[in-house]
Symmetry: C2
């Protein structure tokens, strides 16, 4: 099977699992359930669960397990997109070419859909249906909670809002992105390792360093695309960062140095991962992330 075919097959499995997780809940509040489904099943690239599954392959994690763990992370990602799009936050009308959750429903339903998707992520990871050790479950839950909260994604989004319109340094930008985007990308990879029943702090730390670099690479490429692409290709409003007066790698470093920085991160990640066995699908995904701006 080629990597492209495998990717397609896995995206189908991820989307089936996401739909099942929402549909298997007691359907007492149909509109909320519909809003959750609408915002989760909207043609996303599923890069986070794919990273979990790909890392899981390096540790012989059965696909059924890494799909479930990856979907819990994707639920957190989906909730964050709903809340980020709200008028009080980034105020965006389009997401992947379709109306955002608050545009399709209303703000209240969008807030609650995000809230309930976060709960569903932790329900999924704590379920007896998930066939990994209790130690592994609790490590993943703890990692995901940390990367979602004050010191991770939510904290990074708060810094992003506070920094808007301010002149910030590359270091401040980096810190914000490590929290806002990087923490969850890191958890996506690390969870593929944690689902494994053994734990070694040195292995964990090494993989985590590489995962942090991937989080940064992801963001630098995102910033470059925001400048060089248009709304039709992106499926969301382009030049948004520029219009919103937000500092990005491109505004701080310029396009050329941003490209150089991305190239350096890409090389370091590749070098680190070639030392692992069965890392070819993960390397393929990293190429996808890196080359999406070419």
């Amino acid at each position: 099977m080629t990597h492209e075919v495998l990717q397609k097959k896995l995206v189908t499995a991820i989307e089936k699992k996401l739909a099942d997780l929402i549909a298997n809940q007691p359907q007492l509040s149909l509109l909320l359930s519909e809003a959750m489904h609408y915002s989760c099943l909207n043609g996303g690239k599923r890069i986070r669960p794919l990273l979990t599954i790909a890392t899981g392959m390096m540790y012989n994690i059965p696909e059924e397990i890494s799909v479930s763990v990856g979907c819990a992370i994707e639920l957190i990602h989906c909730y964050s997109l709903i809340h980020d799009d709200l008028p009080a936050m980034d105020n965006d009308d389009l997401r992947r070419g379709k109306p955002t959750c608050h545009k399709k429903y209303n703000e209240a339903i969008a807030i609650l859909a995000g809230d309930a998707l976060q709960s569903l992520a932790f329900e999924t990871l704590s379920s007896t249906d998930l066939n990994i050790t209790q130690t592994a479950k609790l490590k993943i839950i703890n990692q995901l909670a940390k990367s979602s909260g004050l010191s991770g994604m939510a904290g990074g989004q708060a810094l992003d809002l506070i920094n808007t319109g301010l002149a910030i340094t590359q270091q401040q930008l980096q810190q914000m992105h490590i929290m806002k985007t990087g923490a969850l990308i890191n958890t996506s990879i690390i969870s593929g390792y944690l689902a494994n029943n053994s734990f070694d702090i040195t292995l964990y730390q090494k993989l985590s360093d590489t995962a942090t670099k991937l989080g940064l690479l992801f963001q630098v490429i995102d910033d470059i695309i925001d400048i060089t692409s248009n709304t039709q290709i992106l499926g969301k409003t382009a030049h948004k960062d520029l219009d919103n007066n937000k500092a990005t790698y491109v505004t701080i470093l310029g396009i050329e140095k941003s490209n150089q920085y991305a190239n350096m991160l890409y090389s370091e990640i590749k070098n680190s991962l070639t030392k692992y066995t069965n890392a070819d699908f993960l390397l393929y995904l990293i190429d996808l992330i890196y080359f999406r701006n070419k």
Copy 2:
């Protein structure tokens, strides 16, 4: 020690723990951290963690443990208040006599503070610092996630918004309240049992039935107080439900039948709990809930 003194001592322990849980996070986003602290430490009655601790007493759970578990539930409660107060939801300016989170900070920070408090709840319960079995942790996480999400609190809040202005039956009102308020009250009690290392489905179910009745009692009393009290005493806007055209037990049953219903629930809960040993503090809390409108 009288129950009043014990209650005061426990509320102090709960508030210290809540403050510690927020302060012990990496302080990378100070404004968000401050907003979380502001909304958690605002003089709440802490009825949920008190219920967890009181139930824990019936199963000899060390206070340190039941305080931690109770605080995780209180974090979920605090996040729900922040989001419920938002302009797109109940649009309330006052909470416990002080400006609501979005009034004190802004809407974006209020949304994120709620989001990060939810993550912190699950981080707390999955922490290796919490000294209960892994089975107990996972059961509590699963119970809390279910009671917070689509089939619990968030789903109930969505039903509440959808039902506003509509003529609904007592059964529909009951279903909405069992989800919106009842689920978390139920989890507060049940978690005091689940922190215990053994598990018996019959005992669980019996306690859960009583806890569900307490959730209903809590709401009926709330509805009665909303009509009979004023803003100064409540510390939040009074007659809010009436002003917002929301169905309540009082609008459906009238004051007299609402009082009769509360009285029936109260008797059934008392009868059920007198069969337990060391249930006196829990019974005291139930009196507090019942008699707060007298």
